[in-house]
């Protein structure tokens, strides 16, 4: 139902209610006015009857003309009154039998009274008539009393009616007021429900929309004008939002476009810079028109100025290519085709100022559907400097290679020399020695009888010297061979090895009172033969230098130091002075006299070479007379293979 219909309906109902209530009030009011008038009539009647009786009493006391006239007048007034108010009285008695009866009695009593009074008349003056008059008097008095009685009855009834009418009027008035109040309340509630509430909702939405919530909608289910208003508001919001969104989009697009332009500009600047810095220029060639377009960075590379920098012809470029390189350029371009569209070529080119540059050109070719070359796009880099450097590097490399070869050859020849030296030593140094010992022995054997004791001693010295020299030669050979050949990396049980070597020596020299301690489980990786030589030399040394110690002890053990194992061979023998530590491992250097401890001084040198070849290190500590300890490391895996 539309608000308009509703409001009309409300107005109509309100009017009807109001009119009804007004009508009721008017009726009630008129009833009241009517009874008021009736009351006034009865009041007047009562007054008149009272006056009549008063006049009558006066006359009866003083039966004279004056009072008689008064009574007559009073009767007339009374009658007139009754006559005059007859319609009103008739109206008032319509629904009230008692009152009508009373009124009828009043009329009859008035008529009777008048008639009785008329009887009195002149007789008053007639004493005979006095008896009869006395009865008439009584009757008259009774009549007047009855009259007053009935008038009072009427008056009482009328008063009652007046009170009822008044009450009814008040009731109607109250109903009217209550109805008005109810109407006002109803109207207010209706107004509140159908207008104020939706308007408030609308207001709230409007406030929120104005705050930016343009996607808010009322979506009212009402079908009245406010519903339409809400719908219209929603549609307005739709339009507003669409406008706002499109405006936002537009603004965003503007921002995006500006940003894209900036990015593009930056990108272009960036590319430009990159091309310049890389000593390159970009180019494009259109075979149909033979036009060549180049980036500005070509100016420096090609030594061009003015319009020639960016505009050129393919022919113009080709003419500047060094004649020897033209065939290659042509071959490269002819090799292009659909599917083989990338190319890379190098050529030398005469610059605008006559200098020569080496250029590297990388490009891509575009072909049309029929396979005809349409466009060539790419970048050309000045690689003059690079070529120069490369040539220099090549030259240096070649030199280096040569030097390496030279060095290798030198090293090889040195090695060879060393080998032949060892060979010669083993071969050629022995023969004279043998001759020395051989002939001195032959001398002793063949001519011993003719030589005296001193001569024989000299011959003995010759033999001893030659034997010692033979040992030295053997030592040199042992040393040189100690590290020859491939280095094996096999598991070696040093403990087992030491025990065996010690047992061998004990067997060979059963008279020695010597104790030995070997820590078990000393397993290493290394060349078994070389490590055997190491242990043999160290144990031999320990054995030899503890020969003069009463309670000789040789200990083979392992110590952790610097995060790795050190293998130790310790004895409590002659020891050595640490001041000569440096000389210990040098070949043929000995710290003891030959007559103290015989030897050639090659054992520790051999040991050191072997340990070094294994990538390990060896050191010795000792004190004269306090024994010596030799410690070495054997890196598990060749950290410094073959380098030592």
């Amino acid at each position: 139902m539309s608000l308009r219909t509703a409001s009309r309906l409300v107005a109509l109902v309100s009017g009807l209610v109001f009119l009804t209530l007004c009508g009721l009030f008017v009726v009630a009011h008129r009833g009241k006015v009517q009874t008021q008038r009736d009351l006034a009539i009865t009041e007047s009647l009562s007054r008149q009857t009272t006056q009549l009786r008063t006049a009558l009493f006066g006359y009866l006391l003083h039966p004279e003309t004056e009072p008689r006239n008064q009574v007559g007048t009073q009767f007339k007034v009374l009658l007139r009154l009754l006559e005059r108010e007859r319609p009103a009285i008739d109206a008032s008695i319509r629904n009230d039998d008692e009152t009508r009866h009373a009124w009828e009695r009043v009329r009859r009593l008035v008529d009777e009274g008048q008639a009785l009074f008329a009887d009195l008349g002149e007789a008053r003056t007639d004493p005979r008539l006095a008896v009869r008059d006395a009865r008439t008097n009584d009757l008259l008095l009774v009549a007047s009393h009855s009259l007053i009685l009935f008038v009072n009855q009427i008056r009482y009834r009328t008063g009652e009616r007046f009170l009822r009418a008044s009450a009814r009027e008040n009731l109607t008035m109250g109903a009217l007021l209550a109805g008005m109040a109810g109407l006002v309340l109803g109207l207010f509630l209706m107004f509140e429900r159908s207008i104020l509430a939706p308007v408030r909702g609308l207001h709230a939405v409007a406030v929120r929309v104005s705050a930016g919530e343009t996607d808010l909608r009322i979506a009212s289910a009402r079908r009245d004008e406010l519903g339409e208003l809400a719908g219209a508001f929603d549609r307005m919001l739709d339009r507003l939002q669409a406008t706002t969104v499109s405006r936002d989009r537009l603004e965003a697009e503007i921002v995006e476009r500006a940003q894209a332009q900036r990015v593009q500009r930056e990108s272009e600047e960036w590319l430009q810079l990159a091309i310049e810095v890389s000593n390159s220029f970009a180019f494009e060639w259109d075979p149909a028109s033979d036009q060549v377009r180049r980036s500005a960075s070509s100016a420096l590379i090609l030594g061009l100025t003015g319009a020639a920098v960016e505009r050129d012809t393919g022919q113009g470029v080709f003419q500047r290519v060094v004649p020897e390189d033209r065939a290659r350029v042509v071959a490269t371009l002819q090799g292009l085709g659909p599917g083989r569209d990338h190319y890379r070529t190098q050529y030398r080119l005469i610059r605008g100022d006559g200098a020569s540059v080496v250029l590297e050109e990388m490009g891509i070719a575009f072909f049309d559907a029929s396979g005809r070359l349409q466009r060539l796009v790419g970048a050309t880099t000045d690689i003059t400097e690079r070529c120069r450097v490369e040539a220099e590097i090549q030259r240096l490399n070649a030199g280096l290679e040569e030097r390496v070869q030279q060095r290798t050859a030198q090293l090889q020849s040195a090695n060879q020399e060393l080998e032949s030296f060892a060979y010669a030593v083993s071969h050629d140094l022995r023969a004279p020695l043998r001759a020395l010992s051989g002939f001195s022995q032959a001398l002793v054997e063949d001519y011993g009888g003719r030589l005296d004791g001193e001569a024989l001693l000299f011959l003995d010295q010759i033999q001893g010297a030659s034997r010692r020299m033979g040992e030295l030669i053997d030592g040199i050979l042992t040393l040189s061979r100690s590290t020859r050949g491939e280095l094996r990396r096999d598991p070696v049980d040093l403990s087992e090895l030491a025990r065996r070597l010690l047992a061998e020596r004990a067997k060979a020299e059963p008279g020695r009172a010597l104790a030995s301690e070997v820590q078990p489980g000393l397993c290493v990786l290394g060349d078994p033969a070389m490590l055997e030589a190491v242990m043999a030399n160290l144990i031999d040394n320990a054995w030899k230098y503890s020969a003069k110690t009463p309670a000789a002890l040789i200990r083979v053990s392992m110590q952790e130091r610097d995060g790795g194992p050190w293998y130790c061979v310790t004895d409590n023998g002659a020891g050595f002075d640490m001041a000569y530590n440096e000389r210990l491992f040098q070949p043929f250097q000995r710290l003891h006299r030959q007559d103290e401890f015989p030897g050639i001084g090659i054992g520790l040198a051999t040991v050191q070479r072997i340990i070094h070849r294994h990538g390990g290190i060896i050191e010795a500590t000792g004190t004269p007379g306090g024994g010596a300890t030799f410690r070495f490391t054997l890196p598990a895996i060749s950290a410094h293979p073959e380098s030592a």
Partner: protein, 144 residues
């Protein structure tokens, strides 16, 4: 005509003297010839050069040193083995060298034995005598 029992190829005069002395003491001296270098050894064995006309035939054994002037002992050995006449001739390499590669090369080239000259003269003497006895008396040479 049957040749001498032993040919010694030895460039060292001293070694030669010592060996001869030992062999003489062992009563083997009259069966020994000595040449000084590899070429001479070949000439001797093939009856060429200064030995052209030598008709004495091949020795029972050749004691060949390695370090020789002109042709080395190993070269001599190779030439002997390459020639059908001397292909089976017993050759003992007798040298001061104890180089492994010499030993290997010698056997590869078909040496019948490799003996290192002991450093001690007395040992050398003993070795020489043993060699002479072995090759002249114990060993059965191939029939030519």
């Amino acid at each position: 005509m049957k040749g001498r029992a032993i040919l010694i190829v030895e460039d060292s005069r001293q070694d030669e003297l010592l060996m001869l002395r030992v062999l003489r003491k062992a009563n083997l001296a009259n069966q020994i010839d000595v040449v000084r270098d590899g070429q001479q050894a070949l000439d001797y064995l093939f009856a060429e050069g200064e030995f052209a006309g030598r008709t004495a035939g091949l020795p029972a054994v050749v004691l060949l040193d390695i370090g020789l002037p002109r042709l080395s002992g190993l070269q001599v050995l190779a030439r002997l083995r390459a020639d059908p006449r001397t292909r089976l001739l017993p050759v003992v390499i007798l040298t001061s060298s104890d180089e492994e590669r010499d030993r290997l090369k010698s056997y590869e080239n078909g040496a019948n034995s490799f003996v290192r000259k002991p450093l001690e003269f007395s040992e050398l003497a003993e070795t020489i005598v043993r060699l002479g006895v072995y090759w002249l008396l114990v060993n059965e040479p191939p029939q030519p």
